[in-house]
């Protein structure tokens, strides 16, 4: 499975054959086919694994009653994107090959967006986020944040300009920049106290 994930990430799902996976792990195609009938079976198993990982990320909602909660979830999303970049990169291809998986993908995407939107509601109630200037603004910002989370990895792969150490900070900063303009005075103070030190620490990390 790990070898398949790596090959899918490197070459794209469509370009990997069963023979290449077998060669990579040093076994015969027949042996590999004994465990996984074909490439679709491998993709299906990896997809299950990725969906479980997404569910675990989604369960990390409102564990802390402050902005750290979202930063922790962003950290998990980043790790997920590092492990399964093809999950969003090859989303359409995945859905074409496994139409029956489409609903679970859509369900996860809908939950991701709902959570981001509800974070705005929650922090607005806490006085951390300014009241909505226009009905529906925060829903649209939540959608924009979801787009950034989901498609940050493809743009990063296409541009390929950042080294590993700076990727996480870039990922988090781009997303926090969407939230920052909507923070109240109290929110800015909390951001500076809780999130800025984490971001600074992230850039000095070599992980």
């Amino acid at each position: 499975m790990n070898a398949s994930i790596r090959l899918f990430n490197e070459k794209g799902m469509a370009n990997v054959r069963l023979q290449q996976i077998a060669n990579d792990i040093g076994i015969s195609v027949g042996n590999l086919a004994y465990h996984f009938r074909n490439k679709e079976a491998i993709i299906d198993a990896i997809n299950e694994e990725a969906s479980t990982a997404i569910s675990e990320i989604l369960s990390a909602y409102r564990i802390f009653p402050n902005l750290i909660d979202f930063d922790n979830q962003l950290e998990k999303y980043f790790q997920f994107l590092q492990t399964y970049p093809f999950y969003f990169v090859d989303l359409l291809e995945l859905e074409r090959q496994f139409p029956f998986k489409k609903s679970s993908h859509k369900d996860n995407i809908s939950k991701m967006m709902s959570q981001i939107h509800k974070r705005f509601d929650f922090n607005q109630q806490r006085g951390i986020i300014k009241p909505e200037s226009q009905v529906g603004v925060y829903k649209r910002v939540a959608t924009a944040i979801w787009v950034l989370i989901s498609f940050w990895k493809p743009q990063n792969l296409v541009r390929g300009t950042l080294d590993q150490a700076k990727q996480k900070r870039n990922f988090k900063e781009i997303i926090w920049n969407q939230v920052y303009p909507y923070l109240s005075e109290k929110g800015v103070a909390e951001f500076q106290q809780l999130i800025l030190p984490i971001l600074e620490q992230t850039s000095s990390d070599n992980s």
Binding site: Y61, R62, P65, S103, S110, K111, S114, Q115, K118, Q125
Partner: protein, 118 residues
């Protein structure tokens, strides 16, 4: 395991509940748990045995009620028997054993409370 899928409206409602919990839930006080150690009042309680039918068995429950403030009471499930006679006999002994007032002068009328049996 069968997967349960929530529609978007139900999921949003769950998130709302989680959000609201932050504003409605209050941290517990140590005094909230004092009733566990504060059991001196049990010295002045009448013990009443109850045998009720539950899930095809006869269940013995003991009710400890303060003889001056009968609404101050606790109910404890003791055990279950398949035979009603055996349960009634055991309940009688259990009451005698549990009652601090062995002579049985502390009396409370159980029917006054209209206790819920569930």
């Amino acid at each position: 395991m069968h997967k349960i899928q929530l529609d978007s409206a139900a999921y949003n409602e769950l998130l709302n509940l989680l959000n609201n919990q932050h504003f409605t839930d209050q941290p517990g006080q140590e005094s909230d748990m004092e009733f566990l150690s504060d059991d001196w009042w049990l010295r002045d309680t009448a013990v009443i045995e109850m045998v009720i039918q539950r899930e095809g068995m006869w269940e013995i429950q003991l009710v400890f009620a303060h003889y001056q403030e009968p609404h101050k009471l606790i109910k404890r499930v003791i055990s279950r028997y398949t035979s009603k006679r055996k349960a009634e006999l055991s309940a009688w002994y259990m009451r005698r054993l549990a009652a601090k007032d062995q002579r049985g002068t502390l009396k409370v009328n159980l029917d006054d409370f209209k206790l819920c049996q569930s």
